[in-house]
């Protein structure tokens, strides 16, 4: 996304239907201030978020990725989907770091349906953080013509 040549980060957020998506919905309905940079993909539970989703988002042009769902231990509507998430994502962080993707481009955590202001704040802060890091432009890394 570019605005008069100025870099506008493109951020993909995978949110679980029951907690963070609800928060995002409330934030929108309540007209809380949020940047237009975050594209939300709703999934039923963070446990559905295969690590490959994160890699694919970056590979296809995302500058940042957010994952957010229900607070552990007990909030997940499928009992332990968020356990799957906190077991997976530390490994995903390690992987991204080795790929050379800055930690600041990936956020995962928990926001309940009652925490709409927290979601709005996250979108603002994360967007600014990614803006500072600059474009990732992963496709260029693998241009077909070799120098």
């Amino acid at each position: 996304m570019s605005n008069n040549g100025k870099f506008e980060p493109r951020i993909v957020a995978f949110l679980c239907n029951w907690c963070t998506y609800t928060a995002a919905d409330t934030a929108g309905v309540s007209r809380m201030k949020q940047p237009p940079n975050v594209d939300i993909i709703r999934v039923m539970c963070t446990g559905r978020i295969d690590p490959v989703f994160v890699l694919k988002a970056f590979a296809e042009g995302a500058d940042g990725v957010i994952i957010s769902g229900c607070h552990p231990p007990g909030d997940c509507h499928y009992t332990n989907g968020n356990y799957k998430t906190f077991r997976r994502m530390p490994l995903v962080e390690m992987l991204l770091q080795q790929y050379g993707i800055e930690p600041g481009r990936f956020h995962w955590g928990w926001i309940s349906g009652a925490e709409a202001p927290k979601w709005a704040e996250l979108t603002r802060e994360f967007t600014e953080q990614v803006r500072k890091l600059g474009p990732l432009n992963w496709k260029k890394q693998f241009a077909s013509k070799e120098d």
Partner: protein, 321 residues
């Protein structure tokens, strides 16, 4: 099939270790059968054809070309295009051509850092004039050229159109033979198929007994003596079996060595490393984020572990430059 009715067969090696050539030789007495049904018209490892001979062949002259090795240099890429043109059927033979394999782990670096390490910094380097390879060099006699070393290792399928993919590091000889038989009989699957392998995972071929996995600590292979009846993954040894296509006969786990993933992803898996990562995460026995972090932080070299054979073919292809 023209002329004597024999198949015209070519074999080539690009960026590879030579193991795929050995795998062909491992056909042993069956090589005599190959000789009966096929004329070998190009095989740099074993015969004396030159590139110019191949260039002189009409397009589509070879019935089948088995191409092993990844695309590391401009020479590899040139031959990939040339052999594509001269072959009716081009097979990415072995893990390097199929998905980049061990040479592909160099995608964690780039040309400059590899040259620096190899020619300037390595303990055995004796290079006072700090010479690193140049693609062209002027001598009194004229200019000589060597191929360009690329920044990124690619798979054969990333530079040209490939008809079949034959996985393995190296492919197992019964599987090679099955593919050759299929070629000779014209009994080939649809273009783009993975051949010489199974539709299920290595776990399906593995004899070790699986139970519920709950891992508090992962071990590297040399840190533990594995119980040879129980699933290696159950014992905390990262085994790529659940994220790897079968077809090898689970050779490694047979001798208690964990699967490293050389047959590539099973059908419908986009990214082998992400799939193995998910499998590893699923066995972590942690009830808090902190504990999960502690357990997985002991896994060294995640890319080397999860993408040992498939980094160039993965979604991200390489580390950031």
């Amino acid at each position: 099939m023209p002329g004597n009715g024999k198949l015209k067969l070519g074999l080539y090696w690009a960026a590879s270790c030579g193991g795929c050539e050995i795998a062909v030789v491992e056909l042993r007495e069956k090589l005599l059968i190959v000789d009966q049904v096929a004329d070998i018209v190009f095989w740099p490892c074993a015969t004396d054809f030159k590139y110019k001979d191949v260039e002189a062949y009409p397009d589509g002259y070879m019935d089948v070309c088995l191409f092993n090795g990844a695309i590391r240099t401009s020479e590899n890429e040139h031959l990939a295009h040339l052999l594509r043109k001269k072959s009716k059927v081009l097979v990415a033979f072995g893990s390097c051509a199929y998905e980049g394999c061990i040479p592909g782990l160099a995608n964690l670096f780039d040309r400059e850092s590899i040259f620096r390490r190899v020619y300037l910094e390595s303990e055995s380097a004796d290079n006072p004039n700090k010479v690193v390879p140049q693609t062209a060099y002027h001598m009194p006699e004229g200019e000589i050229e060597i191929p360009k070393f690329y920044n990124t290792v690619k798979t054969l399928g990333q530079v040209t159109d490939v008809d079949y993919f034959l996985p393995g590091c190296p492919p197992q000889d019964p599987q090679i033979w099955a593919v050759i038989e299929a070629i000779v009989s014209g009994n080939l699957p649809p273009k783009g198929s993975v051949v010489g392998a199974n539709e299920k995972t290595v776990c399906d071929e593995c004899k070790h007994v699986r139970e519920e996995k709950k891992i508090k600590k992962f071990y590297r292979y040399h840190e533990i003596i594995a119980d040879s009846t129980r699933c290696l993954f159950d014992q905390g040894i990262i085994c790529a079996g659940p994220a790897t296509r079968g077809g090898c006969g689970a050779l490694c786990t047979k001798v208690d060595i964990p699967c490293r993933g050389c047959y590539g992803p099973p059908p419908n898996v986009v990214d082998q490393g992400a799939s193995l990562l998910a499998a590893v995460a699923s066995v972590v026995d942690a009830d808090t984020e902190e504990e999960a972090r502690r357990i997985v932080s002991e896994i060294p070299d995640p890319i080397g572990t999860f993408y040992r054979f498939s980094l160039p073919a993965s979604l991200l292809h390489r580390a950031r430059r």
